[in-house]
């Protein structure tokens, strides 16, 4: 359910689970106050703020890479489990990407590159994938990579005993894996699944040592063994995860900036829940990268000498308001359209996010393969048009508070939410949306509920509006929110139980066709349909934003906008 963990592969290094503590919003507000002090002090301590540093400067040049050193990354959230097959958390993906290699690598343009598999074929019916594996790959425990390892990894992910919260679901339609010979792994599907390669490219399906899977079964969460450029050293609960360079690494994916072992000697992920503490650590040189830089901090960091901001827009389902087209006042498309047209989203997103996020135009982020530009401008601000639509829909009366009424009933739209969803300034954004809606005479009730009540409301399909996002570099994510087979009871997020044969047709075609042209056309129509019929009001495109010392170079982002450390290096102080 997205209700509780909206973003297994979500927009930042901040998985859902740790966002559910009741105390946190309060702490957070205080932290912001304290941060003002922290930043003032730190800025003064850092001396003059000179030339700004460019975004992604770390990725581009900075001289010849230097080997050695320890990169300390302060993550907001602790991984729940380091077995990638189990955990749905972003932070697990970010950490495990260094420990596990995948069969294939997906670049942000949507192209797949060889990694542990040197080549692969798909059968004409789309049901059988054959991977030809490298034969020179060793896991950190000395085991050799072979087809049996691939088979064991995938079977581990789908085994109900693993209780996978994400990876298992990625393997939708998995019928089995075979190892006809050590260098050939075959995956069989029950139905064609165009998104399979993308699923296999994620760290969540990184290939694990079969020896570790067999011997270590009870302890996989705390002892990840893969073949990646870094090997696992230790996990100090609540404090840090330490990885060290794998000196024998010689199987970098195609498209990496270098080959051979990683530049960094050590990679330490500290768990620092408080944003103000992460920023303070960064500015005082106690860490090199601070995860989840708040929008307000980004401009500060950019303007401070010695620091940079590394950021990347995330692909997948943007943060948007899903409107209930099945029941309630929003079942009337005119009311949905009126709501969308009464929002001044350009200005709102700009001010709430200090110019660090883009307004979303369609359900998919522009970085997603098969994003279709035809959605742009469809849901523009038009208060007059909105008023006309509401009149047509019969909401012609006005009550004492200025809200529209019909038959004496106020036009009220209910948007339940829960504290853990309020990250990334989403509360502020909601207030802006509420204010704009009020101008149009629509009462938008933004109701904060405890997670249990919220889950019940959301799954019950009784809400008018729900706000979610889901980062995944695959347009198939649309099916998850709008496909009629993706209702809550089937593990999907189509919480309003939308059942639209036309939409289903495109989404199923996109999910099953292996022809990119066919998929592109299908997804273009689906995206257009979603905005034309206002099944969703897209709000903004999530961003991964890291505050970093300018000593950091070579940190890139993968297709899901997760930071990558294989090519990373640290310049001398």
């Amino acid at each position: 359910m997205p209700i509780t963990a909206p973003q297994p592969a979500s927009d930042d290094i901040r998985p859902p689970r740790a966002r559910r503590t009741g105390t946190r919003p309060g702490l957070r507000a205080l932290g912001t106050l304290a941060l003002a002090t922290a930043v003032l002090v730190a800025t003064a301590a850092c001396g003059s703020s000179g030339s700004g540093s460019a975004d992604g400067a770390g990725a581009a040049g900075g001289g010849a890479p230097v080997d050695g050193g320890t990169l300390r990354f302060a993550a907001e959230v602790e991984p729940d489990c380091l077995d990638p097959a189990v955990s749905p958390a972003d932070v697990t993906g970010v950490v495990d990407r260094n420990v596990f290699d995948s069969l294939v690598r997906l670049d942000s343009a949507g192209t797949f590159h060889p990694w542990l598999a040197t080549s692969w074929e798909v059968s004409p019916d789309g049901l059988t994938y054959t991977f030809h594996l490298r034969t020179d790959v060793l896991f950190h425990d000395g085991t050799k990579l072979d087809a049996a390892a691939v088979k064991a990894t995938l079977e581990h992910a789908v085994d109900p005993a693993t209780k996978s919260l994400y990876a298992g679901g990625l393997l939708e339609g998995f019928a089995g894996a075979d190892a006809p010979d050590p260098a050939t792994a075959v995956i069989r599907l029950t139905k064609p699944r165009a998104a399979l390669l993308q699923a296999l490219s994620t760290p969540y399906l990184g290939i694990q040592s079969p020896k570790s899977l067999a011997d270590n079964a009870a302890d996989l969460c705390r002892k990840p063994v893969g073949s990646g450029p870094f090997s696992f050293v230790s996990w100090e609960k609540s404090t840090s995860v330490t990885l060290k360079r794998n000196p024998g690494y010689a199987w970098a994916p195609e498209g990496a900036a270098h080959t051979g072992a990683a530049h960094l000697e050590k990679l330490v992920f500290q768990i620092v829940p408080e944003e103000s503490v992460r920023q303070g650590q960064l500015r005082s040189g106690q860490i090199e990268i601070a995860g989840n830089a708040a929008p307000a901090r980004i401009a500060d960091l950019k303007g401070t000498k010695g620091f940079q901001v590394l950021q990347q827009e995330a692909p997948g389902q943007v943060y948007g308001l899903f409107l209930n087209p099945v029941a309630g006042v929003l079942a009337d498309e005119r009311v949905r359209t009126a709501l969308a047209r009464s929002l001044q989203l350009d200005a709102l997103v700009k001010s709430v996010y200090h110019d660090t996020r883009h307004r979303a135009q369609g359900p998919l982020g522009p970085g997603t393969v098969f994003y279709d530009k035809s959605v742009e401008g469809v849901l523009g601000y038009d208060p007059a048009g909105a008023g006309k639509l509401l009149d047509e829909a019969g909401w012609t009366g006005r009550d004492a508070d200025g809200y529209r009424t019909k038959d004496g009933k106020r036009l009220t739209v209910v948007w339940p939410t829960s504290a853990y969803l309020a990250r990334d300034n989403r509360d502020l954004l909601a207030q802006g949306v509420q204010a704009d809606a009020k101008k149009a005479g629509i009462e938008l009730q933004y109701l904060n509920q405890d997670p249990g009540t919220f889950a019940k409301t959301a799954v019950g399909g009784t809400a008018d509006v729900l706000g979610f996002s889901f980062v995944r570099p695959e347009a198939d994510i649309l099916r998850h929110y709008f496909g009629s087979a993706s209702t809550a009871d089937k593990g999907g997020s189509n919480l309003f139980r939308i059942s639209d044969p036309q939409l289903d047709g495109w989404l199923d075609q996109g999910a099953s066709s292996s022809d990119p042209a066919v998929r592109g056309r299908a997804y273009a129509q689906a995206q257009k349909y979603v905005v034309d019929h206002v099944l969703e009001i897209p709000l903004y495109v999530p961003v991964t934003a890291l505050g970093a010392s300018s000593r950091v170079h070579g940190v890139g982002f993968d297709a899901a906008a997760f930071p990558q450390f294989y090519d990373a290096w640290l310049a001398a102080r």
Partner: protein
């Protein structure tokens, strides 16, 4: 026991009383555990949904979780099972860490005990110094100290922690923001935990010291020519510390709850951190485990304090019945 004549002899009386208190303690612990059970199992929403979280989970996995937690059973059966396990000392299995809860808490206990002890000792030391320095002295000094204590006592640990970090770690870089394992990493967290407690302790101690300075023994010490500070340290302090015993329940409570905040701000290991993450992840067995362990600690401390009182102060013997 009602109706029976009280056993003769002080020791027998004490034993009788301790047994009764122990029985009560068991009831208290069971009550706390039941409240935790009720609070978490009966909270709105399907626990499986909350635990599983991720939306790509297959119905088979959800069924597995439900089965693991025994959620298919009627509530009464679940509750009975829960109590049965608890009575046999089994705190259950952490869903999040996939380990026994006892192990999870055991691993983290040392860090919290270290922090709590350091914080407590700092608070005690600071409060004693303040009390000795200000009790019965010039009114302005007393007022100033009292004002500072009030501020300390009402400053949220979170705020204090961030300010300390900002100054001592980020600005002057004297201490690390995140514990690297050394003793220097303990300083700021312990101070943060100690400050609010110091404020309260100092108020209590000063009151109590002022009262004790008016006792006859103080007068006789003065008459013997004892200096004021020596009098405070050698004679008055021992009496003064007794009211702190009364506060011990509150102290344990603030140490435990303070640990949640301090461990989060300073990214430390510990029971507090585990509690916070278990609540957020709805790791029900861990949450109940923490509740049970805290209830046990509370009860034991209170029991010891009461016994200590009874032994220390003969006047309280009467109340033992």
């Amino acid at each position: 026991m009602k109706g029976l004549p009280p056993p003769a002899g002080g020791l027998a009386l004490l034993r009788h009383w301790v047994v009764r208190r122990l029985a009560l303690a068991v009831v208290v612990v069971l009550g706390a555990a039941s409240a935790a059970f009720a609070g978490l199992w009966l909270a709105p929403g399907d626990p499986v949904q909350l635990i599983v979280g991720s939306h790509e989970v297959t119905p088979e996995v959800a069924a597995r979780v439900r089965d693991d937690l025994g959620l298919d059973e009627p509530l009464v059966v679940q509750y009975g099972r829960f109590l049965g396990r608890l009575l046999s000392g089994d705190l259950g299995h952490s869903y999040q860490a996939s380990r026994p809860v006892a192990d999870v808490l055991g691993d983290q206990a040392a860090a919290t005990v270290e922090l709590a002890l350091a914080g407590f000792l700092l608070a005690l030391l600071g409060a004693v110094l303040l009390a000795v320095a200000t009790a019965g002295r010039r009114p302005w000094l007393r007022r100033a100290s009292s004002a500072v204590e009030l501020v300390l006592g009402s400053t949220p640990a979170f705020w204090a922690g961030i300010v300390l970090l900002t100054l001592f770690s980020f600005r002057w870089q004297l201490f690390p923001a995140v514990d690297g394992g050394g003793l220097d990493g303990l300083v700021l967290p312990a101070v943060t935990l100690a400050l609010p407690m110091l404020g309260v302790f100092a108020q209590v101690l000063r009151e109590s010291m002022e009262r004790s300075l008016e006792e006859p023994y103080a007068l006789s010490a003065r008459a013997r020519g004892s200096g004021e500070t020596a009098l405070r340290l050698r004679h008055s302090l021992r009496h003064t510390l007794v009211p702190l015993l009364t506060l011990s329940g509150w102290t344990v409570g603030s140490l435990l709850s303070g640990a949640v905040v301090v461990e989060t701000v300073f990214s430390r290991q510990g029971i507090g951190r585990i509690t916070a993450s278990a609540i957020s992840a709805r790791d029900l067995p861990v949450v109940t485990g923490v509740v049970v362990v805290s209830a046990v600690v509370f009860t034991v401390v209170n029991l010891l304090v009461d016994v200590g009182y009874a032994i220390a102060d003969p006047r309280l013997k009467e109340s033992l019945r």
